[in-house]
């Protein structure tokens, strides 16, 4: 059975190799949500791609880069898979990129493996994704990478009894498990936990419940959108004193727009993440300035995923001297190391996953604006989930 599939895949790869792939342009199929509930992340990833191409030209190793954008419109692996197939067989794309949501990235991974196409996952953050295609690399982060580090950090910094509150779906469960693992392994105790409905909009009841259990740390996992601001406001409104109870979460909790609508309610929130526009480095300052000139807004973690994703594609193409077959490109990507606006990062040669610094930040007021200020960092963090999987 397996052999038949491999045979078919090889046959497809050969036909593709002699077909549209021999054209002069390198075509990159970017598949993600450009519309619907997840349109904003899509727009920011796309901005990152555009900025990189503007700064670095659209020609690499003598070949012109052409982007073909496809809208998967939300959680729709069937559509994402179809679009990935189409962009390869119809438009002749040699590289797949984008992928904002886990189910979509997983479905497209099949296409990448079957059609032997290099794929750059620019956002989807579930650990398992990169194991589904040997031709995939990731330039965002993994939920385990960030949250297990945060759990350990919390214990080291005085939290003993923690309460966890997470969104009731896959990434939320991952965040919960990762934080609890990091925290318990260090010696902490989880005194309560809750999962809130994915579409929840008013958090007062959940926050009150967390407060009533008297923890000295509250861990929260929320996806982006309107929820972070709602939680931040609920925490302030319920009168939780953040100097006594550490309120922690993954970076989405304090992304820029959330902080804007939280106002001073956001002060003191602690988050762990791999990127923020306020990260202090010359490289990031230049990046943020350029980004603002181009798009009139600040970059976020989605933008930097798209930006670094393009960097990876460009550098890999340079290394292969313009060859676009998946084996050469993924070989070139493995172990690649560069200085990103987020700091030093690299692609793990074994897992093809991202290795980077996790920053611990606290919301403070700087020049009248609420920003995430780095207060600590953990360097060279690999995805811990993958390290524990049997080889």
């Amino acid at each position: 059975m397996r052999k038949v599939f491999l045979g078919a895949a090889a046959a497809i790869a050969i036909t593709l190799g002699t077909g549209p792939a021999s054209a002069q342009n390198v075509k990159i199929g970017v598949v993600m949500s450009f519309s619907g509930q997840f349109a904003d992340p899509g727009a920011q990833i796309d901005n990152g791609i555009k900025l990189y191409m503007k700064q670095n030209g659209d020609t690499v190793a003598g070949r012109k880069i052409e982007i073909i954008r496809k809208d998967s419109g939300g959680i729709a692996p069937d559509v994402a898979k179809r679009l990935s197939q189409e962009v390869i067989v119809r438009d002749g794309a040699q590289v797949l990129a984008g992928y904002d949501l886990t189910p979509n990235a997983l479905a497209a991974a099949d296409v990448s493996a079957q059609a032997k196409t290099f794929m750059v996952n620019m956002n989807a953050a579930t650990s398992v994704i990169t194991t589904k295609s040997p031709y995939m690399a990731r330039t965002s982060f993994t939920v385990w990478q960030v949250n297990e580090a945060l759990g350990a950090w919390a214990y080291k910094n005085g939290v003993r009894k923690a309460y966890t509150l997470v969104s009731d779906f896959g990434p939320g469960w991952d965040g919960e498990a990762a934080f609890q693992k990091g925290f318990k392994d260090a010696g902490g105790e989880i005194i309560g936990q809750a999962r809130y409905p994915v579409a929840n909009l008013d958090f007062t009841a959940f926050v009150q419940r967390a407060k009533d259990s008297n923890p000295d740390g509250i861990y929260i996992w929320v996806p982006g959108g309107p929820q972070p601001a709602a939680i931040g406001k609920a925490i302030a409104e319920r009168g939780i004193d953040k100097s006594k109870v550490k309120v922690m979460g993954q970076g989405e909790l304090t992304y820029e727009e959330a902080l804007k609508s939280m106002g001073d309610a956001g002060l003191g929130l602690i988050t762990a993440f791999h990127y923020d526009y306020n990260h202090q480095s010359a490289k990031n300052k230049a990046f943020v300035t350029a980004y603002n000139t181009e798009f009139k807004r600040n970059p976020d973690m989605f933008s930097v995923g798209g930006y670094d994703g393009m960097h990876l594609i460009y550098e890999a193409l340079k290394k292969t001297a313009g060859k676009t077959d998946a084996d050469s490109l993924i070989a070139a990507a493995k172990g690649m190391r560069w200085e990103s606006p987020r700091g030093p990062m690299s692609i793990d040669p074994e897992t093809r996953d991202v290795v980077q610094t996790v920053y611990i930040r606290r919301v403070e007021k700087v020049g009248g604006h609420l920003v995430n200020v780095d207060i600590d960092k953990i360097e060279n963090v690999k995805d811990p989930w993958k390290a524990r999987q049997p080889k």
Partner: protein
């Protein structure tokens, strides 16, 4: 329904006339083979159009013929999709039996639901179907061990069709498979609708009280058609799973229920071909618009819907039928083709 020929000739003749195949129908079905030759790069899309058309057809059975408006029909589509996916994940990836089992499972769920459905009408009915749709979605989300939760079900591998045809990257097998299943089930529906059972369903749609008065068991009829519709929706869902090897919560969500309703109304409810035409137009328009502009394609789609309503009431087929039946059109074509003038 007030065709004078039918009334004069009696219901048997009317039904027989409806069952006869018209030339345009045969042309239509043959034209669905065109993608193989004309647009071989669009076969993956074509197979998803066929699957959506089948889903819309299942909704047409209850909405167009029995007057049951549902905003939660994705429940059955999704139930079938997950059944096929879970079967395949646990070692049974044979597509045809998978399809039958999924259809049976969805039909069973539909049968259970029909006890509730048949008791309600109007807004309450719409909202109860919507509520059940959401409940099933939340259930699938929380049963992560079975469904894979928000990440989607992993490890779905469908075996080659009949042991011979692999599901290829170009979608050749997928489109053949989906098209044949669509055609067979269409035949079933066509036969069903043009039967005494189908007629009494239309009677229930028009006036449920009177139907009961003339002795038709309206509740039992409604339950029957609802079960059949659910089974077909489940088969459509299973087709999607098998041709894409993926299942996620997206198969159960509200957007899918709403989209299929829009597709059916767009094409024309109560006309068998309405769902198919609607699916072709809606999905091809979406593909083209979003190809031109992946961010704002909702705008032209919205305008398309508005324009259709304003100029072709009762959907595209309904509007066209009205034009063809209108006196002006009759006169005009009669002038064009003088030999067709009535004696």
């Amino acid at each position: 329904m007030t065709s004078t020929d039918g009334a004069l000739a009696g219901p048997q003749q009317y039904l027989r006339a409806q069952q006869r195949w018209r030339a345009i129908e045969i042309v239509f079905w043959l034209s669905l083979l065109l993608p193989f030759v004309v647009t071989p790069n669009y076969l993956v899309l074509a197979s998803q159009v066929a699957i959506t058309a089948l889903f819309a057809l299942s909704l047409d059975l209850i909405l167009g013929y029995a007057g049951i408006v549902s905003l939660g029909h994705a429940a059955f589509f999704g139930f079938g999709a997950y059944t096929a996916g879970i079967l395949s994940k646990h070692g049974w990836g044979e597509p045809l039996t998978g399809l039958l089992i999924s259809g049976f499972a969805a039909g069973l769920l539909g049968y259970l639901m029909s006890f509730i459905i048949a008791r309600f009408r109007h807004l309450a009915l719409i909202m109860i179907t919507l509520g059940f749709g959401f409940l099933l979605l939340e259930l699938a989300n929380s049963l992560g061990w079975l469904t894979g939760g928000a990440d989607g079900l992993q490890g779905v591998k469908t075996w080659p069709l009949l042991g011979m045809f692999k599901f290829d990257l170009w979608g050749v097998t997928s489109y053949w498979y989906s098209l044949i299943v669509l055609f067979i089930l269409f035949l079933v529906c066509r036969r069903l609708i043009n039967s005494p059972f189908g007629l009494s369903l239309r009677g229930i749609r028009e006036n449920a009280v009177r139907m009961r008065a003339v002795g038709a068991e309206s509740r039992a009829h409604l339950q029957k058609i609802y079960t059949i519709s659910a089974a077909i929706a489940g088969i459509a869902g299973a087709l999607l799973t098998q041709t894409t090897d993926t299942v996620s919560l997206g198969v159960l969500n509200f957007e899918r229920s709403a989209d299929v309703l829009v597709i059916l109304i767009l094409g024309g409810a109560g006309r068998l071909y309405g769902g198919i035409i609607g699916a072709i137009i809606f999905l091809v328009a979406r593909d083209q618009f979003s190809g031109i502009n992946p961010q704002y394609w909702y705008f032209p789609i919205g305008v398309l819907l508005v324009v259709v309503v304003l100029f072709l009431p009762n959907g595209i087929l309904g509007g066209l039928a009205q034009i063809v039946e209108s006196e002006r059109w009759q006169r005009w074509t009669a002038n064009l083709t003088p030999w067709r003038k009535k004696p």
